[in-house]
Amino acid sequence: MNRWWALCLLTIASLLGCVAESDHPRATSNSGPPAYGDNLIVGTIGEPSNLIPILASDSASHDVAGLIYNGLLKYDKNLQLVGDLAESWQISKDGLTITFHLRKGIKWHDGVEFSSRDVMYTYRVTIDPKTPTAYAEDFKQVKSASAPDPYTFRVTYDKPFAPALASWGMNILPSHLLEGKDITKSPLSRKPVGTGPFRFKEWIAGQRVVLDANRDYFEGRPYIDHYTYRIIPDNSTMYMELKAGGIDMMGLTPVQYQRQTNSKDFLVRFSKYRYPSSSYVYLGFNLRHPLFSDKRIRQAITAAINKDEIIHGALLGMGQTAHGPFKPGTWADNPGQKDIPYDPSLSIKLLAEAGWQMNSDGKLIKNGKPFQFTILTNQGNDVRLKTAQIIQQRLKRIGIEVKIRVVEWASLLSQFIDKGNFEALVMGWTITPDPDLFDVWHSSKTGPKELNFVGYKNQEVDRLIEQGRSTFDQEKRKQCYYRIQEILVEDQPYSFLYVPDALPVVSSRFKGIEPAPAGISYNLIKWYVPKVEQAH
């Protein structure tokens, strides 16, 4: 009888043990060795639109396509270009010709071998006028392209073109499935075939996209067997799915990062990461508007804005101040560059020099007119709205009256930006890994619907931009970009405000994540879940 009881107790104890283990895997087991298996479920707000990457311009499509396809080159964890489908590449002495040596033995997911023919096809279809793509511009700089043998691809340019290398990071498409067909009607847009670490499995519209590990991937089989991209359009719902275990990874908002994810329980189950995102937010001035044509005015406004206060108020500290158009910590950015400091007395002095005097009501007046303008920003971005509101408060203190107008994206573009019909706006730019500034800052890009919509024209900046893009020598380019930053601080065409942080959170059963300047996803194929912790 005694033995019987002991056995019962033992059974109960082991049952309890099991329960505890499945609830808190980390509590009982330390990370085991890398193992194959499990499913990484990533939450996303937007659904991909088209998995042929040259036809899509939304980030969700490129996120998924990036796992299925490869480019010739890619950025490594330190944002340096390295070979991907190309084993190596050479730039001719005159900088005009780039020769890519392709890896041998790479297979498309359907088993056909990858060759230079695929690269040639991708180049041709991208520049084909019938292809509705947003990515033809860089490829159009190519004067001639040739594929002398299946493992060599060569392109020649009219003049040395530094962004060319980055442009060959474009995902290469399978020519054997697309050549001679209308790419816009190809089934590949919903059932892609690539060379990448994951192969496409299924796409259930509005719900999820599922990828399986490519066991024959040329950089090694990914440890994670399945990658599921779950579409959850509402951020609060996504956060609850995360807590309930329905997804393993998402991007947190600053409030979630700072206030809602610090419980012990949460930190045992999840790992939070934080690093600067590749984007910045700015207050842009319409330089054609008489109010802002004087650079002292722009300098005064920047001096009146406390950027730290904005980061604290709008981002809860999850960001850093911006002083130019480059990503902090990358080679093009000069970390020693100082922007105009927060100094309201300096603004008042500069404004007085420009003829604006404060009257008894504390308002700035020139020729009997008060200093007032409207800041536009797009609807649906709470952080930008808060940013505008904090700026409004600060400018009020030096006597400038600011109104804020939030406009739906389509109207903002067509009614205000394209027509140059604005005074100032709070907007953001994505920072590309290649620091070329031509499209946003060159004076030739100030036409309607072009990106230099604030109308910034500076001959020296033009020259430096052209110089910077016409050499492959990083040292020389760096000098150009350092000088541009100095000029931009002096000219203040924008008040550069901040670089927000990316705040991803991943279930802690995933190991092998190593944050780097490129973020965390660059080594996805090395992520793994130890055998005992695998959930799916």
């Binding site: 088209n50 311009s57 793509t133 947003a134 359009p233 329905g246 573009l413 067509s414 499209d439």
Partner: protein
């Protein structure tokens, strides 16, 4: 009757044409273009690429030609291809979402009517009693509480805290390998919260409507007569009262027909349900003209058919309408 029917059906055609014309103009009046939405703020897009895109979508042609082209395609039941980057046929995009929305709305409609009618009767019969007031408070609470807020609270309670119900979506991961019954049960569990939220909100209007028509009927002479005959209260209310009170409610049901294909954006977004509401909203935001027009045309068509059915039902019920004599 046949004459009346023919007249009604013939009248639908110009009406439909007018609807398409107005919607076409209105959607094109909205600032912005699909090409803009896809390409604006992208440093890699040149003006030429933009022009090419406009040509690709036929946006470079004058508006009346665009309309004629669109109408010509519609005559062959071709809704065209979406202006979104996927460039898929509009009808495919609608088809993959329509079954979900229709079945969800149908179930919600049944729940709504199934609850609102008894609630309304109970409130009317026990007019001004504690029960009536309690019901009023309850249904107005449902009417007044913001859907998204209640939805999130319920999600947190049942999904995160109690872990009884799934939070969002339609199926559990890996459910495709399960048996049919288990899959169905899984889907039902996913639908409990969305359906509860969807019906709770619209309970108020319907049950108040039912209550007022019922009250009106109860005051009629024939109810007094029925009571005087010595019928029991149950028969009086359910047979003599309800039948008459239901007529206007049935009309209301006819009007709900087009609502079946329309989804709610907020509720679909919160519960991550891939329905028509989201599709339409995204279409409008991206200025995806063919998609928006396609959904509107189907919606308008259903509205017209719903009205027609309601009229025919009336005609059957009321000879004065049928013969056109008053």
């Amino acid at each position: 009757m046949v004459h009346y029917l023919c007249k009604r059906i013939l009248m639908l055609l110009p009406l439909m044409l007018g609807i398409t014309l107005i919607t076409f103009v209105v959607i094109h009046l909205a600032p912005g273009e699909p090409v803009e939405m896809q390409m604006a703020m992208n440093p890699k897009v040149s003006a030429k690429a933009r022009e090419r895109m406009r040509e690709f979508y036929g946006l470079d042609k004058p508006l009346h030609i665009q309309y004629a082209n669109w109408l010509g395609r519609l005559a062959h039941m071709d809704f065209g291809r979406s202006f979104a980057p996927d460039n898929r046929p509009v009808i495919d995009k609608i088809k993959e979402r329509l079954p979900i929305t229709i079945s969800l709305n149908l179930v919600a409609l049944i729940i709504e009517f199934g609850l609102a009618i008894p609630i309304g009767i109970m409130a009317a019969v026990n007019r001004d009693s504690l029960l009536d007031k309690g019901i009023t408070i309850f249904v107005f609470l449902g009417f007044a509480v913001p859907t998204f807020w209640l939805a999130l609270l319920l999600m947190y309670l049942f999904g995160v805290k109690l872990n009884w119900l799934p939070i969002s979506g339609l199926h559990s991961l890996g459910s495709e390998q399960w048996g049919a019954l288990q899959r169905f049960w899984d889907m039902m569990k996913h639908l409990v919260l969305p359906l509860a939220i969807a019906s709770f909100g619209s309970l108020a209007g319907l049950s108040r409507f039912m209550r007022s028509t019922m009250l009106e009927v109860i005051g009629q002479d024939y109810i007094t007569t029925a009571r005087a005959k010595g019928l029991n209260e149950r028969t009086v209310i359910l047979r003599h009262g309800l039948r008459n009170a239901l007529l206007p409610v049935i009309t209301l049901l006819g009007f709900s027909l087009p609502g079946l294909i329309g989804g709610s954006v907020i509720f679909e977004t919160i519960y991550a349900i891939p329905g028509m509401g989201q599709l339409f909203y995204m279409g409008v935001m991206a200025r995806d003209y063919p998609l928006v027009m396609g959904i509107l045309v189907i919606g308008a068509g259903l509205t017209l058919v719903g009205n027609l059915l309601a009229d025919i039902a009336y005609a059957f019920a009321d000879p004065r309408i049928r013969t056109g004599k008053n």
